[in-house]
Amino acid sequence: MARLDVRIKNLALKNPVMTASGTFGYGLEFADLMPLDGIGGIIVKGTTLKPREGNDYPRMAETASGMLNCVGLQNKGVDYFCEHIYPQIKDIDTNMIVNVSGSSPDDYAECAARIDALEKIPAIELNISCPNVKDGGMAFGVTCAGASSVVRAVRERYHKTLIVKLSPNVTNITEIARAVEAEGADSVSLINTLMGMAIDIEKRKTLLSINTGGLSGPAVKPVALRMVWQVAKAVKIPVVGLGGICTAKDAIEFMMAGATAIEIGTANFLDPTVSIKVRDGINDWLDSHGCQSVQEIIGVID
């Protein structure tokens, strides 16, 4: 058994495998199928200060080796989360991390502050990269000034581990990463979905209600891996890698590219137990290659 534990600033993970926001609900949905405490963290559904209904149906389209979604941050708001969901998830023995989104720096900060008060939530992932909402979301994540403004506002009011989730829909993702690092982010996670589109040629209509959506799944993996590699070299804070990870091999690639931890997203839909398999696969690979610890592979690609 190789050592699998990693740290993201003050956040200790028993292993580097987490589940990505929006693909694993609040964890509870998967409790029958796998041991939730077997992975390093669960990043729960994007949460906003006020409830959001999300976009109209259809919100999903299957594409080659992936899918598009335009869910649009449907959630019942942070107060509902604190009152009704937090009590159900607080005793799950892993890092329960909340993905926080908003439409202005102030409401990001207010939402984060309310979650700061929850004892058993050790970290948040700040979503400045949702491509499916008109106000906020990716609008902040595609410029250094926008990203900085949100992280600055949140950092003032959020005192635990702050991970900032970056958008790949930018010219140079390393500049955004450096900007949020400068504002006090403890880590960056990347990538969120790539903005895409699909058309039904018989109906001559787009397949998604708002025409465009975020592409995820194996189709985006090479792009995500490249960006993780670039960002890991550009910042000093730990990088969390995600984008199309389906297997332990995929996860190891991201860690070799510089990710301290990884998130599994769309693959949860294909196999709800995949995160445990990836954890075990990383361990087996390390063992079979004579590695004592997962640390030995992080960032080995120059």
């Binding site: 929006g22 693909t23 694993f24 609900g25 949905e29 998967f30 029958d32 199928l33 559904k45 209904e53 999300g54 109209d56 149906y57 259809p58 919100r59 999903m60 389209a61 299957e62 594409t63 080659a64 080796s65 992936g66 899918m67 979604n69 869910v71 449907q74 799944g217 769309t266 949860n268 839909f269 294909l270 196999d271 709800p272 137990t273």
Partner: protein, 258 residues
């Protein structure tokens, strides 16, 4: 209800129509408890263009034979691949998912089960479960032509079967909602599954006749577990997941008042 991820074994695949196959699955262990109206998310192997699992409703559960029956319309790459399965193949199934139909409480309840196309599938299991409790269901099944009616012999085992076809080749001519039965009899509850225009027409009839009615929806889905929020339907309680809060909804919850 506890959910399971199981590699079930294909016992048989019968092409019962040019577009439909009946797949019977079994397992070494007793199959989990499943309710009428629930569904299974199936991983389709060997179809490069099929990325996500395919939701398929539970057609019938044969407890004695330890069989789960799935009626599959081979309409796309994924379902066509399923139709090519052979006895002995394994099929990775996530089940049972969603909330099913409300079952009658008393044998004397008069329940009408209205289905069209492949939507007849879950009504067989519901009718069979009703028959087991001594409650005789009435099936009202619609199809384009007589040869498009599916599994009639099975339906006839459990209840009265009324038929409409669009070309009049079997049963009464027209749509299910044109059937004379609806003028003559009153029911305590209706359960419907089929094309949306058909279910909306059934819902209109139910509202007019003040009959309780549940409809089973089949919005496009990804996770099947209520995690991704892709399959939502607008309801009186906001956007609800068809996979977790449905697929069966009371029509009063749906915004179908057209």
């Amino acid at each position: 209800m506890k959910k399971f991820l199981l590699d079930l074994t294909v016992r048989s695949v019968d092409r019962i129509h040019e577009r439909y196959v009946l797949i019977k699955l079994t397992d070494e262990q007793p199959l989990p408890e499943m309710l009428p109206g629930q569904f299974v998310e199936i991983r389709v192997d060997g179809s490069p263009t099929t990325f996500l699992r395919r939701p398929i409703s539970i057609n019938y559960v044969d407890k004695q034979a330890n069989e789960l029956w799935l009626l599959v319309a081979a309409v796309g790459d994924g379902t066509r691949k399923l139709a090519e399965l052979k006895a002995g193949d394994r099929l990775n199934c996530l089940l049972p998912l969603g909330k099913g139909f409300t079952m009658p409480q008393k044998p004397e309840e008069r329940i009408l089960l209205v289905g069209g196309g492949v939507g007849v599938a879950p009504l067989l299991y519901m009718g069979a479960q009703m028959a087991e409790m001594g409650c005789l269901p009435t099936f009202l099944l619609g199809a384009r032509t007589g040869k498009d009616l599916l599994m009639l012999d099975e339906f006839r085992k459990y209840g009265r079967v009324c038929i409409t076809t669009e070309d009049g080749s079997e049963g009464e001519k027209g749509f299910v909602t044109n059937h004379s039965l609806l003028q003559k009899e009153q029911f305590d509850r209706i359960a419907t599954c089929g094309p949306t225009p058909m279910m909306k027409a059934v819902a209109r009839y139910a509202r007019k006749s003040e009959t309780e009615c549940e409809a089973s929806l089949e919005n496009l889905m990804a996770c099947g577990l209520g995690a991704c929020l892709c399959c939502v339907e607008k309801t009186t309680d906001g956007n609800l997941c068809v996979c977790k809060d449905g697929p069966v909804f009371n029509i009063r919850k749906l915004l179908w008042q057209d």
